[in-house]
Point group: C2
Chain length 319, copies 2
Amino acid sequence: MLEQILEQGRAVTDAALERLLPPAGQYPTSIHRAMRHSVFAGGKRLRPTLCLEAARLIAAGTNSVMSAAAPAGSTGGTPRSGIEPDGLPRGIDELGAALEMIHTYSLIHDDLPALDNDDLRRGRPTCHVLFGEATAILAGDALQTYAYDVLSRLACGPEQRVRIIFEVAHATGTVNGMIGGQVVDLESEGVAPDAGTLEYIHRSKTGALITASLVTGSIYAGAAREQVERVREFGQAVGFAFQIADDVLDVTQSSQQLGKTAGKDRDSAKATYPALFGIDESMRKARELVESACQALDEFGAGARTLKELARFLVERKN
Amino acid sequence: MLEQILEQGRAVTDAALERLLPPAGQYPTSIHRAMRHSVFAGGKRLRPTLCLEAARLIAAGTNSVMSAAAPAGSTGGTPRSGIEPDGLPRGIDELGAALEMIHTYSLIHDDLPALDNDDLRRGRPTCHVLFGEATAILAGDALQTYAYDVLSRLACGPEQRVRIIFEVAHATGTVNGMIGGQVVDLESEGVAPDAGTLEYIHRSKTGALITASLVTGSIYAGAAREQVERVREFGQAVGFAFQIADDVLDVTQSSQQLGKTAGKDRDSAKATYPALFGIDESMRKARELVESACQALDEFGAGARTLKELARFLVERKN
């Protein structure tokens, strides 16, 4: 079941990305080849998959205490474009693709020599290694730009689109967002980590975009405000847990298993959960977060089972 | 008159940027200091000023053959927020500020060592010189992100906002947009320039965002589709002329007059108009473009006088 969900999320997102990104032969070709190299470098499409499942949960709208209340505080009703037989709102794949473009832009820039200086990502050479630093900087820029281009044209109503754009921009900004987390992460290298700073980094750098993926999926599917806030609560706990698990994997797995350089956090004296609390306590914390996340979805009833399974998978995964 | 317009455009935009950007003391402070350093580094705010004047033209809607037809093909009517006594639609300053954030992000990234490697911009040290490469890359990223955050919350209707976001994203993307132009510009260094490539660079790298500034200003003010297309025509010719004039200034002015390193195009063997056609022929071409641009606005009558004056100023300016 979970494997099917992950596989569908990956396939749907890959197809949308293939369709939406300019072809590699489009002038000027170097930038489009660089963008496609990084976008199609074996990503698991976890953020789009979370987005799809949040949308499916809202679109189902059955067996749920909350769905009865939906029309009152609705954020736009079901999307104009309707629901597919598989339960996904039509066109949601393009929202997932835009989220993956944002995620990929952040990876390209994080990998640059001036930042994390990584040559390897998902087992392949990083963008700047293959295409040079200038093209890598611009390819990251362009993926961010292109994400908003796609978001502005989503198949849901304009009111939903501007809310989605706001959520994505806010989640990737400097105040409690992705860039803010990255800045503090860089500044914390070689400094004794404290738990408060570490939580800020994890919640901002990784958690915020994971949360936004779930939240925007629910907005796209026409969730009521109250439903969106339950999904947000779920996302915040899952996003934090996801990064703690990531820290643990960096210590416990080999480079081959991870597809990137293992032990990198320790070597660069990065603030991590295992460094501060040890592996066992870190995993206990991650699992506790996931269980509290799942509670936030209890009001949705049985329909929330897939999202809960996904949350547990995200902390128990091996790469 | 023109001086007043330029001064008002600058003052209005500076005030909006001051209000909208996170304060320098906001955690994490390094990124906010870097963003503010580059945003408040003495820019002339030409793009916001063009945006404001396009909006004022549409908002006036008098003495115009076209305004009579506006309601039929209207893109949303006058903005919900109303018109200020000075003729500007309320809240347009935030659109101008967002455009300036986009422009500033592009300057920060262009100046990086991997790209143009400029230490000086508007007479001040560039972002990476003061804050380091990592912070400069992230400050550019964040200004782009923050622009979309602001655009998603503009005071006009959601339908207008998504159209504005589309125009900005498209104008700054890789296909006939700012990043595409920058890529071809970088790849043309040291290569014998040809006129077709040069026109692509100028129209994409500079022209597209100038055009979008005018187009989005008109959309914000509720222009009819047909009016938007006249403004677009004007913008495309003005944007191209602006960059030709910029090439000429690089040859004819000193570094002190320009506030940046003069003669840089020649030293890096960049494709420029003067290199290809000489200074006189380049200026003739720029002036010809401006006159054809002004013709596109003839249908708006006397109200278009300010925009036409601005266009002429952009090719005759001395820095």
